[in-house]
């Protein structure tokens, strides 16, 4: 076995080298290069957020489809992502981080739902949360993407407004 001082010199060099690689990778990749990270989750307190929610609107009249809602007045039936094996975070990030909604992007979104779309119409809501001056939280549900078994419709104004908000 090597002498303790030799071992300590070796581990010191190794730790410093790994630390340098860690810092170099996260500083050149916006804080993330798995498994290295600056762990920025929940670091921006009070910042507005965008999530998404899906409703089964197969039997909902067209007149009710494209109205902004609160959680108590959403039309249609709940469409739970969990039992369908779809990650809610994936869907929310798909909605909140997409700049362009071209054919490829829409096909990618539809692929996530797989066979669930064969006999259903699903509405993806753009859910926006904000904290106002009085520490009151407002949550708005805006209809965003309507997925029918054979076609997809998108609120282009909302997509454009969202794109302008993205960095």
């Amino acid at each position: 076995m090597a002498e303790i001082p030799t071992l300590l010199r070796k581990v010191q060099r190794l730790i410093v080298a790994i630390l340098l690689v860690y810092v170099a990778l996260v500083s050149t990749h916006l804080g993330e290069f798995w498994p290295f990270s600056i762990y920025p989750m929940f670091s921006r307190g009070g910042h507005p957020w965008v999530r998404s929610l899906v409703r089964d609107v197969t039997h909902t009249p067209d007149s009710l489809l494209w109205r902004a809602q609160s959680e108590d007045t959403l039309p249609g039936d709940p469409f739970a992502l969990g039992p369908e094996g779809i990650s809610g975070n994936d869907l929310s990030n798909f909605v909140s981080k997409s700049k362009e909604w071209d054919r490829e992007r829409i096909d990618g979104m539809r692929k996530l739902f797989g066979e669930s779309l064969q006999s259903r119409s699903l509405m993806i809501y753009y859910v926006e949360g904000r904290l106002d001056q009085d520490r009151h939280i407002s949550v708005k549900y805006r209809p965003f993407i309507l997925m029918l078994p054979d076609s997809t419709a998108l609120d282009k104004d909302l997509a454009e407004r969202h794109r302008d908000m993205l960095p």
Binding site: M1, L7, Y39, E71, G85, F94
Partner: protein, 295 residues
């Protein structure tokens, strides 16, 4: 002073016991279990993905969409499994290196839809140490001391920079209870989307009705993270790691976000399990089967 710091962290003077060896093998098994859990669960999910929204890691330099088809994610999970077994049974020195490279590929394919998940980072960071430790040291007991010292250092460092990220992004007002309410509202929408129902538990009701309790909860979490570096010191390690475990349990109760692999690593790293195993084996000496010394 630096030499003393590394001496305390790696403790090469420590005479390795049977308890140390058993503890380390259990720690290694735990890392492998979570590695396989992540690689297979991601492997089954990746074929559902059809487009790259946010390229991460190596995917910034290559088109990762090739992983979505032809069951390549399953093939990768199989390679990771075989490499893990070879590394664990000491049949191939570069096994853990292949595991970490394969898991990186699996991660960037799985999280190409925009989410940046941190549920597997601690396992990944520890795996990097296991890959380097096995390559850099020949003797088993030196590998074990390096991997544990490395794990204390980088896990503690990770929590510390997470606290610093909060200070940089928001400042000293980060623990404002209203911020927690915002994240709770966000998670409520997530759970609504996932289950089709809105349900609040007892702890969420308490936190959402008291700004003071919400603020204290955030302040506790932030202080715990900022003091993560205390894991580097053997004397303070059980206390700070217990605080971090409590922080994760709090996040689970209030935000319904679970980090089981991080929690498992913290439980392993927090307490003097090796000494407990030695006490147990001494007490039941002759009753338990002998463990061969591994060096």
């Amino acid at each position: 002073m630096i030499r003393r710091f590394f001496n305390t962290l790696f403790d090469f003077e420590h005479q390795e016991t049977t308890g140390d060896v058993i503890f380390f093998r259990l720690f290694e098994l735990c890392v492998i279990y979570w590695t396989l859990y992540h690689s297979w669960s991601w492997g089954f999910y990746i074929p559902k993905i059809g487009d790259v929204v946010l390229p991460l890691g190596i995917a910034e330099y290559m088109d990762i969409s090739f992983m979505f088809d032809h069951n390549l994610a399953i093939v990768n999970a199989t390679v990771i499994t075989i490499a893990s077994a070879l590394a664990f049974f000491k049949r191939w020195r570069y096994g853990y290196l292949l595991v970490i490279l394969g898991l990186h590929l699996q991660y960037v394919a799985r999280y190409s839809l925009g989410e940046i998940s941190h549920g597997s980072n601690v396992i990944g960071v520890v795996l990097v140490g296991m890959a380097i430790g096995v390559i850099a040291f020949k003797e088993g007991h030196l590998q074990r001391r390096f991997i544990l010292g490395y794990s204390y250092f980088f896990v503690g460092f990770g929590y510390f920079i997470s606290g610093i990220s909060k200070l940089v992004a928001t400042g000293i007002t980060w623990p404002d209870g209203a911020h927690l309410w915002m994240w709770m509202a966000e998670r409520t929408v997530d759970m609504f989307a996932l289950t089709g129902q809105i349900n609040h538990n007892f702890v969420q009701n308490i936190v959402s009705n008291s700004w003071l309790i919400a603020t204290l909860a955030l302040a506790f979490g932030m202080c715990g993270e900022l003091l993560g570096w205390l894991m580097w010191n053997k004397k303070y390690r059980p206390y700070i790691t217990t605080c971090l475990i409590m922080f994760h349990v709090g996040v689970l109760l209030v935000m319904k976000i679970n980090f089981p692999s991080n929690l498992a690593m913290l439980v392993f790293l927090a307490y003097p399990w090796a000494a407990l195993i030695d006490w147990f084996t001494t007490r039941y000496d002759g009753v338990l089967p002998a463990v061969p010394a591994a060096r």
